[in-house]
């Protein structure tokens, strides 16, 4: 397996959606190709860091304001009747 072929399968490999034979070939490649091992490992870390980062969390006070604005608009819409939407 070439490095380019490894890269093409990387997403399926990380998501665990590949057949056993391809998985074995990928892991065989990883065992001797240091660069692909590093790319695979750091791509996995990239995903985990973003997943755990709590980037763009909605602050509680803003959350409350938004929810109350949404519900006020929903009530107004209901009052006005669907045909006027």
């Amino acid at each position: 397996m070439k490095c380019s072929e490894f890269l093409q399968e990387l997403t399926n490999y990380l998501d665990g959606v590949i057949d056993a034979r391809t998985k074995a070939e990928l892991e065989d490649h990883l065992a001797w190709c240091h660069n692909c091992y590093v790319v695979c490992d750091t791509t996995k870390k990239t995903i985990e860091i973003y997943r755990d980062s709590q980037l763009y969390e909605l602050p509680d006070d803003l959350r409350g304001r938004l929810r109350s604005a949404i519900m006020t608009k929903c009530h107004a819409h209901k009052k006005a009747g669907p045909e006027k939407a």
Binding site: N12, V17, K45
Partner: protein
């Protein structure tokens, strides 16, 4: 090397019961759905628009649109996937308004210079995120993802941050499954490449040779 484990979502039947009640006019059931998904919608909206005010507007408009159109929700997909689809469209509309000079389309299969070929193959420190404070880390992650084309960051956020499946992401973005997979691969590799400059081991050459 272990695989990435997807986030576990709420039971679908419970969600469906809330949707049915909301359809029947129970606004408190709809408010439950808002509480359940407002954080997710806000995150997705801010990732796409890269603007706090726009993200706030997207949250309001997406839920209001969902409320108005509940009757059209047939239940073939999850309510959350349907809601995400509405929110993504609202967010893209705002992004287009702010950047009219650049066409923003999810269909576009963007080729970028740094496409898919990793340039930084230096290994990272064992716990790279611990080199930075929480605020510094958020700044790095925010700046890094902002540099991706909208189509890439949208796919990445839905799949890897929000934990939607490939099929749900395809449905929410109206893309084919191969298109989602190809964008996801390139988004992951580009983010990895860009983060390497912050997280690589000190003294590592950056090209695999030391």
């Amino acid at each position: 090397m272990s695989t990435i484990q997807p986030k576990v979502g709420e039971p679908v039947s419970e969600e469906l019961a809330l949707v049915q009640a909301a359809k029947g006019g129970d606004d408190s059931a709809f408010e439950e759905l808002v509480k359940r998904y407002d954080r997710n919608v806000f995150r997705i909206a801010q990732h796409i628009t890269q603007n706090r005010e726009d993200a706030e507007d997207v949250v309001q408009d997406a839920f209001l649109k969902a409320y108005r159109n509940l009757g059209q929700f047939q239940g073939q997909s999850k309510f959350y996937t349907w809601l995400v689809r509405i929110a993504v469209n609202e967010a893209l509309m705002r992004l287009r308004r702010r950047r009219p000079e650049r066409m923003v389309s999810l269909d576009e299969d963007v080729k970028t210079e740094e496409d898919s070929v990793p340039r930084e193959v230096a290994d990272w420190s064992p716990n790279p995120e611990q080199q930075y404070t929480q605020a510094e880390l958020r700044d790095i992650l925010g700046k890094t993802i902002q540099g991706l084309p909208p189509t890439f960051r949208t796919v990445f956020v839905l799949r890897d941050v929000e934990g939607l499946s490939t099929e749900e992401t395809a449905e929410a973005l109206d893309l084919s499954i191969p298109a989602v997979k190809s964008r996801l691969l390139r988004a992951r590799l580009q983010l990895r490449d860009r983060l390497s400059r912050y997280f690589q081991k000190r003294g590592d050459g950056g090209d695999g040779t030391k």
